[in-house]
Symmetry: D3
């Protein structure tokens, strides 16, 4: 199953069940990074109020995870900054030697929240990076031309039926500008909207961007994953892009859940030496899964299905 796709699934999927914490309704669309001798992550744990909350989690091997039962407490240094009404779909990016969390935050509508941690214990909120209505804010793991760079997907205030990926630039991670349009959906699988997934992976040929793309069927949205290659120095320029998706909902845990037919990658851990990549993705808005690929497989896919 899925053998034609350049991502192969972990046989231990879903690696994190729906009820990994005492109060969770689902654990999905979550982000993991290497941390210390193991891994740490920020997890979307919708609780049984169906409130969207962010939790930390830790793992020795990246597969077995302990998710904290309590949501992250964000310290807010400036009283003018409002407390997030909710948080979902986090990404974690190591940048300038610290760990930055971006997420979809409740700020009179969905917006891009930004916080920083060094230890996954204490999180300090920086300003919301971008105005509502926006989702899927993703940082690059190093400055480019001295600038921090963030991808995002401007939206509306509901189940947005449109959306392209844009890039914004910043010196101080507080003020953002020099906005660039990166790409729009082209193929049917991404025709409703697209959004950046994991933190881009640097290769000698460019930034590998995994992203999600949505198709609207007569029964709702279907979420797939795709891949593109962004220019190393001007990462708003798309150098290559696969016309065919790299992952689509096939397994029961991807097809059946609180939202059927969703695969939603939020993190990728790459081993530069071997080119191996582990992709963390949410399935059916209910559980967290793991898939494997390689830089070579992704480039092969982009060549096989040029856009």
């Amino acid at each position: 199953m899925g053998s034609h796709d350049p991502i192969w699934r972990s046989s231990r999927n879903p690696i994190i069940p729906r009820d990994a914490t005492p109060t969770s309704n689902g654990v999905f669309n979550s982000a993991a990074v290497p941390f210390g001798t193991g891994f740490a992550g920020v997890f979307r744990c919708d609780d049984r109020h169906r409130r969207m909350r962010l939790h930390t989690g830790f793992s020795g091997d990246g597969v077995s995870w302990q998710v904290k039962p309590e949501p992250i407490f964000f310290e807010i240094p400036d009283p003018q900054i409002e407390k997030p009404e909710y948080g979902y779909d986090p990404r974690v990016c190591r940048l300038d030697g610290r760990y930055y969390v971006t997420w979809c935050t409740g700020f009179h509508g969905p917006a891009i929240g930004l916080a920083v941690t060094d230890d996954f214990a204490r999180f300090e909120m920086i300003e919301n990076a971008l105005l509502p209505y926006n989702r899927n804010g993703v940082l690059f793991p190093r400055r480019i031309g001295g600038k921090a760079m963030m991808l995002s997907r401007p939206s509306d205030n509901g189940h947005t039926p449109f959306g392209d990926i844009f890039l914004s630039q910043s010196d101080d991670l507080v003020h953002w500008g020099k906005h660039r349009h990166v790409m729009a959906g082209i193929q049917p699988w991404e025709s409703t909207k697209i959004g950046a997934g994991p933190v881009p992976i640097e290769t000698t040929e460019g930034w590998l961007l995994l992203y999600h793309g949505v198709l609207t069927s007569c029964s709702g949205y279907v979420y797939h994953a795709g891949v593109a290659l962004l220019d190393l120095e001007q990462p708003w320029k798309v150098r290559r892009r696969a016309a065919a998706y790299i992952l689509s909902p096939h397994e029961t845990y991807e097809r059946m859940g609180d939202v059927p037919n969703v695969v939603f990658p939020c993190a990728a851990i790459a081993d530069p030496a071997t080119g191996r990549i582990a992709v963390y993705y949410g399935a059916a808005d209910t559980v967290t899964c793991l898939g494997f690929t390689t830089v070579e497989a992704l480039f092969g896919h982009m060549e096989a299905f040029p856009s």
Copy 2:
């Protein structure tokens, strides 16, 4: 699975299959009561025209049911009363020594039908209690301050995207008034609409109300069940309410069916001596299921998740 919830599922679920009668497409959202030495019930049996019909059923143990192959014939005493165009989502309430059936009836739009039986063989239609567009009419099992009381959820004429629970009062079960607003959806799991479920269960501290709450995902509605406690004497006043749901679609028979991701409780049989409660609920608009809880567990849940 589901071990964090205060309701545990029968291992014999679904207790009534889709095709329990020769013509049924599904049997769900149905109501059971103690009757004679066993149990009787009114069942929603959509047929293979997908017409919504009400049937009776009988059981010795409350788990194995014989559903009658023919729909209920409602005798209509007054020729000014129109014959129901359809009937669905019934509730049965023992009141003033008789069995009253309320259901969503086709009266130029969905409205609250009301009929009475003594033997589950002969049913006499009283007047439609409330004008369209309304659904989820539920009687209280005794008069309060001399008044019969009915909960309902005013609606529109389609898949209504809003809805609160109201209460209406009557002396004669024909004329209703002194309408009171009871409660609206607060938490995300109930943010689209809510509706009363089984006939309220009397406790010394108030009326236990199980109800359904709907969340709108990008693939449609998700139906959960929740619990609240209404004032004993002024039952339009909410005394307690759990912020977390008590039941959510997790099992395959709740997630996959004619309408995915639905649990919809319509009846509860309580044993006052022990506080044990059996909850009958429809799953995926396809089959009938059974869950178990206790008064104590529900109060514990309301305390653990105060609203």
Copy 3:
């Protein structure tokens, strides 16, 4: 202009301007009755917050009106009755020797409010007659078979795109039941929805019901007025009905205003001796107008355009 219609417009139209009170944005969809030696009325005065409010007004000749600058204060005898969130589209009916006001009231959605006055100075709120979502509640001016009778138009919570006229019955004006379907839109001019207008006018052949009917153009709703004859004893039975409207927006004050293309009759004063009828109607949701017709003209119209 309009000479083919059985209603002819007052040359003094609009008889009440938009800014008849110091705070009003518009004065329209209002109800007048004979009172003392002149006339009294309840007026919809949207203020410059665009809040919908009810005011009283008085007139010697029924054409020149003094509208009170302050909204009506409704006394509420029972603390369980909630204060109306807003009020609009009033009707006034003399019944059992008193003046009853029905209106669309804000009760967690639009519902039918009911209050009583003897002097148009002190108004006492009775219970809301009907649950939301409902509009255009209109009483009959005498009991029929001992019952008070009310027409209404069940709705949804927005600019409802559907709606039929129903009838409900009551002994005590508090509890309502024996609901009957009266009529639905048939012709294109009333194809979106219909709603009762003035208090029905008794004739020897039946109750003359003026009502509004809505057509949906590609630029929104167009409101017309029509006429039907209801059975004297079973007024939910339609005895005659004109297929052609009796009034349609033609004049600039009906075509241009806060809502273009609206004529909306809310009151009719009939002189039984002569059969002359004065019709008060709102125009363009902005001003109040007056039209004239006769019982004979309306019967002639129903004969000329049988439905």
Copy 4:
């Protein structure tokens, strides 16, 4: 399971998996006909761009199929005919000794494409038979009164929420006229829209038409199959019609897939000697399935559930 329905499923279902070709995302809603000593077919193979494409396939026994990895190339004889933007939901009809393919073609909107082949290797496009927006074009297998006849379902340009079956007539398969309305949805299972399925099957009493019917739930469309009997000489006249569906989504492969709850018949191979009929249907817009019935069973069903 499903034992009450007049169609029984192949135990080898799904007979064609999702990934039957190296690039396919799904293989479904496809048409098979006897060809040579075996069977040939035209298959809807959505690729992993989720583009909708038509492929040929061949089988010895009608159950095991080899689907060609490359889409059909349509030769276009007249340069004024535009190349199809896409193709889906094909039917194949043997008429006048040749094989005609009809399908939903991309012609500035969905329209009815028409092509002819003798060998399932070379396909020549005739003109698009009908203007957009139209779907489900189905030919009759012989001329009637000298005319070729085609059923179709006029639509809009999206997930059309309405639709009846019409019939059009032609002498030359290029120009079509004498359009007739055949039937609209009547029962709840077909209340949203209906569309012709396989090429009609001739019987002495009329043309057996299998068709699909759609119901709109709060989670999207549910596709069922039904049966009607059309007049032999005036096939736009419905002689009989079953009120109950003949097939509805019950199996996991019908309930779970890229579009849940879809059964969509596109071909039927009848053995006139025995009356046995094999029905090819797409399931969940993902896989191809096989069901069995008989002429007798279908007539029995129409008698048991008269419309």
Copy 5:
């Protein structure tokens, strides 16, 4: 006013008032042709049921019109042809020596009706030319390559929010095929949809096509008129097209009426000797107006505003 546009309005506008017949609510979107020593026409006369009806009318000078009070009676030679449910937006085309009327006809949805007359007294219905859902069927005034040609605008069943102009061809005016896409909306004023207006006017350089184009504002549709030049021999090919509209609602009678902001041309009478053109257009879906232009002015406009 409007002096920059290549069409100038008659000072006698509106030339036909709303109530030109005893039963009409509006007279608009109508077609006139030279006939005998004067002019004849087919008029859209919505009556006061707001039913859409076609009437004949006659004029000596083309400006003063007598519209018949009774709708056209269409003789239907073949009992298989259904009687039109309604008729609107007619065009009249002299072709092969007879007068053909095309209109939007009620045939289980809006479709293109076709009838023929020689004397504007007796009209015989030919078959509906095209399936629903279609509007704005317009014939060419001579055969091209031996074929009759018709423009149309495929639609949906409501206030269609999309629509391009297509062309269909016929030998016998009954069967139509060889469908070609002509043009889609490009500029903002025509971005929602476009539709052919009057019968195309032949010039040595091509067919002059006046057409309407619709923009969707936050208060509904705005209808403008534009001009294009179609190839003489392959009239589905657009040779020139003005990017700017030629007429837009400016006058009160175009801005205020049953549908505000509509100009809708349905007929043009050209004098080949002088190049003068009289354009009949409906205004605000209420009245009929006249505008003047010349072939030279239209070509000048296409040059000044190339597309």
Copy 6:
């Protein structure tokens, strides 16, 4: 007329007609500032393609204007900045000694464009200040705490049915952050959405903000104007706000036009010595108008109608 409102209209309204330039369809929603010995402005001139374009204009007295026939050419210093696809609803703000233009610009959706000029002849585009989808970007006329400040109204990509006013801060006018929520619609007249109007006017008590508020009727949007007072140092804090609008569409030129019932202020010229304010506002998306008020009148209004 309008005498209760704190804004009185110029008797010369509309001061700029629809066709002020040879190609304009309308001239409205435009911004004027004192410049040299007279006034300069940036005008929204939709042309007769209905394209949205920005033009300059000049006036000696602020009432008679010469609008340039050619749109503004924006010089773009950085080739990474995309050329605006369109421009509308401009504001002009004198800040740091230069004139800054903000407008709704076409950048893969509506976004906030920003350009600078010294002479209203040469305009240089700075970066788009904010990502799509955003409208109504308005600068403050001086730095506050060293920061440039901009109000904006995040939106969706259509006729957005929601919207609050936010504030963003910048050091360099390129990078923006420290986003703050300013206010949402509260009263019915502003219940759909609100957006900042003219550049705020500094008073000793705070910044006077005129803004527009939208109500959705059954025939579309109605645009009103309102007033609030923002904190001098923390201008995202609302110190006072009038519950009643200050201007509403009443005059024919406000009620009838390409979009009926729109008043839309974009500029205000205040005379600090006298407190007199001239307000430029677009009417009916067609013409430009002028109204007069005073600081005193606006404060009086906020006191009379506290929010």
